[in-house]
Symmetry: C3
Subunit: 427 residues, 3 copies
């Protein structure tokens, strides 16, 4: 199959936009924390470079090559290391397309280069989300080792299961349009694994609760961060159609409309509930919440459904945030859990409620049934069970992999926690 140029052009531009998001997370952290700029920005620059290197080395194959072991893992050596090594005839590099983009599978005609960049950018931004919980707490050297493991096996397994057309969960029928589970949910599970190791080390040092990171807004960097993330999501969701067609243009609407609605909803709920204020943080968190919720089903729903989902974003974030804020065994300064975990997994479950089959079919998901609210009946209830099963499997796997990785790094060195906590306790 020949590359389909317009699809490649669309997705490679989307890839570039997603690429920007990783460093944008650094700006967001700087904007929300107001200090410690250095570590946030350095960390996200490192993540970006490491993602490209390790995904090209072998991670991309593990996630997206034809699977082995009954859909458990992509063949690590399918296309050679570094996307074909020194070969000039490797899969879809100078001629032809990546195997799963062929007519037998997704039929979008993307080349290896295009698809690699798109997915490497996704992997990078996922780790950037994970890393918001390690702010000032995890040693940079530990985090760098963790990154390599992450891009080789932790990020790649859920992708191989759900986004690879021969993955076992995909084959069962689990769907996740642009990463409510593969990105947001899994990021939270990985983050929890790290938090748990940090908490173990903090308890060993005698802490009763985990030292929290103070918030001190810097609105310039905050606004830059949200602008870049908003723009990046233009690539993230619409690019996930993996083709440029009417669905891709419609996903632009559902994505942006959910963000806009959730912004208004979050501000309104903040004001009405008296939890928080309708200020810039509330607007920024609302935008993010809308984007997160719509992500797993942006290609499956109508514009009006995205408005409904956006409206739900406000109360979910405001009350979720308040609930998590009372847990004291971890520090989550940038809202990984109320935002990405609750929002992402909520969105995944909503697939079984809001999907409209014509929208899903247009984005290339022809077998997905309409949701419960759109006459899906038993098929939709079955889909709900499938999505819940996918959530449990992925969250548990990623949590365990992440925690074990941290425990090993901790044992090999002398802990993964910086003495930041110690310094603060002495004050």
């Amino acid at each position: 199959m020949e590359p389909v140029l317009i699809n490649n052009l669309w997705v490679i531009i989307a890839a570039l936009l997603v690429f920007i998001m990783t460093i944008a997370v650094g700006f967001l952290e700087v904007g929300e924390e107001g200090i410690g700029m250095s570590k946030s920005l350095f960390k996200t620059i490192l993540i970006t470079g490491s993602a490209i290197f390790f995904m090209a080395l072998i991670g991309f194959n593990i996630a997206f090559a034809p699977t082995i072991f009954h859909g458990l893992i992509g063949n690590p050596f399918y296309n050679g290391l570094f996307l074909g090594g020194f070969s000039s005839v490797s899969q879809g590099l100078l001629t032809g397309v990546w195997w799963s983009m062929d007519a037998n599978f997704f039929n979008t005609g993307l080349t290896t280069g295009t698809y690699f960049l798109f997915e490497a950018a996704f992997a990078a931004v996922t780790l950037a989300l994970v890393s918001v919980v390690v702010l000032k707490k995890m040693k940079l050297s530990s985090f760098m080792i963790y990154s390599a493991v992450y891009f080789i096996i932790i990020w790649t397994l859920p992708a191989a299961w759900i986004w690879n057309p021969t993955g076992w969960l995909f084959q069962m029928g689990v769907r996740d349009f642009a990463g409510g589970l593969v990105v947001h949910g899994a990021a939270a599970a990985a983050g929890l694994g790290i938090m748990y190791q940090i908490w173990k080390e903090e308890r060993a040092k005698g802490f009763k609760k985990s030292p929290q990171t103070p918030v001190k807004l810097n609105q310039g960097w905050l606004a830059l961060g949200i602008l870049l993330l908003w723009v990046g999501w233009f690539g993230f969701n619409p690019g996930s159609v993996l083709a440029f067609n009417s669905s891709a243009m419609t996903v632009v609407i559902t994505t942006f409309l959910a963000a806009a609605t959730a912004m208004l909803s979050t501000m309104a709920v903040s004001k009405i509930s008296g939890i928080g204020k309708p200020d810039i943080m509330s607007a920024v968190n609302g935008i993010l919440m809308g984007l997160i919720i719509i992500t797993p089903l942006a290609g499956f729903v109508s514009p009006a459904s995205s408005v409904v989902l956006g409206l739900l974003g406000g109360p979910i974030f405001v009350y979720g945030s308040a609930w998590f804020g009372r847990r004291k065994w971890f520090a989550d300064p940038v809202g990984l859990l109320p935002g990405h975990m609750v929002g992402g997994l909520f969105g995944v479950l909503m697939i079984a409620f809001f999907t409209q089959a014509p929208f899903a079919a247009a984005s290339g998901n022809g077998t997905l049934p309409s949701g419960i609210l759109f006459g899906g009946g038993m098929a939709a209830i079955s889909q709900l069970g499938l999505e819940a099963f996918g959530i449990i499997v992925v969250m548990a796997t990623v949590f365990v992999l992440s925690y074990v990785t941290c425990a090993i790094i901790s044992a090999a060195g002398s802990g993964i926690t910086t003495n930041y906590a110690a310094r603060r306790r002495n004050k």
Copy 2:
């Protein structure tokens, strides 16, 4: 008619670039004011979200649906609320194109999603321009109510009249390529409406002149703002061809060349006249002035004409700015009036002077006659009258709508003005 993919790809990318401009105006304000970052950035984030929400709700229909009442207003319910509501067969969403992009009208094959995002971004950035005059002066709650009214009726009417192919001014022959009148002129008229209400309230508090906002440069944010606006204009003007063809590529040249020339011209005039200095503010204002002037006719003129128009930008801005600087009944810290009003309307009138029919035809404006300087003769003089008529109608309408909106908001609450002015007077 099938969507024309390359046109949609071009315009949806242009839409994304224009989308960036709204928040960029916030950075520009922060760069020029050096303080009060919070309100500027918060305001432009709010505007962006509100534009998407209210334009999708009903504004897009009012501006761009087939008109009713003899071209006065688009049918608000043409495509359903939120671009088709829950329907999966609505106009141009998953199949076909938006009605005015069909072969009977503009014949560019854009879908609803593409065209909506492009125009919603235009609406957003227009209100961002309006809002530069309310810096520190207007209550945020008042401004939020104003925003909803703005996106439903104030922005949409001139668009329905001039950019909708069944609008009454379009039918008469008024043309405005990318918004010298619909964006820049109308923004100034709306801003004047707000200013007038603020001035009424300030006088009621005993002010003799309107407190001015001090300028204190922050060059990092200023440079970021101008960079994003410059890049955004790449979407604004070339995207306004609504198709990717030779004209679109030529509009890139006319746009960037006008900006570059006006930058040099403004710096030179600043130095020679002794009004201001050839510094970074002068360069930034020059770039903006060039972009503003070329906007209404970027698709109608040759590259050399854009140089001439850019050259005129320098003296117009420098002397215009000095003239408005002596008016004391309003505060216009970021130059809405000398920049957007004078520059935008000047550019609209220049349509009747600089248009070359082959350029206009290539950008889809086949009926526009060549200008007075290019042998247009009586047809060009008639066009000049038409443009002047359009200016008067639009400016008067928008000013009145804007002022009445503010007066009602003021009456419903207790004024729209913050106590910023009061605080300053007491010093």
Copy 3:
């Protein structure tokens, strides 16, 4: 020949990304210097505007019009001033394509508008690189005059020789994919010409060594600068295929992979060698070094070769930087010489080692032989000689032109050096 729309869309987007890089260099300077924001940002805004103006005026013709005098210079009046003046039938503006993009030459179907914007952006960013050595040292008025000369003759000559298909070095067989010599090498040569004039003036004032500019990191602007440059390089290298095809997508991989690898390599070498630290500056410099080295051959090599080249980037930068750091007759705060000169020219020579003919053919360079490491044999050794010859000719020419230009400006005014040096000496 009709314009090939997808190629034009790709290259015009690439042009926009490259356009961003010039101002990004200003952010990088601000990030690395921490002070003197004003001059860096103002300077790069000026460069951008001047590039567009002077390249359109005549520079683009000098570089890219059909050559005269045996390939020495493009016909300055080929397409008229300002890309066709007031004519609506000029070359490739509203119909047809730029002559060298026709089937007789590069056969990519680019219009004048597309190709102009792409190359004007390259010219701009080249001068931005040159200008990092004049930070706080050269009078702004002198620099503005220098800019005009630069865009008319200094940038354009090497481009006419190597990138114009009738240029004499191109005809001999010298190749430079995206500007290891035409951009990075030539920027260093031009910078050396300016440095030499400044050093002459400093010696005349009694200096024994050239005052160095202190480094004081501002990590926010630094991160923004590197993000924009990284994104911009997406346009710089992949856009240099001048077409959207499989090669363009592969160049994305080679470019980003070299950057990622060099980031890791530079950090590792910094740590192991004890020269510097594996900090954010080391990561940023590593990314830049990888991008610089891969630039001249990104379209000629396999992904694995780009990893090898990236690995070499670390030691070359770290030791090169240490070596240049001991030279005291100039100030090079942002690493023009160890980065752009050493990296760029090293990359140019590597063409003769790492090229694989199928990759080169896919990017439109069908006559380039495979490199020494890929069985190129005598043809590759001959290519090595050609590249070395090209380096010598271009570096010498640009150095002399740059120095003579500075000397004349210096003689016409009273030197080109600010009294910055004087001020510091008195402290």
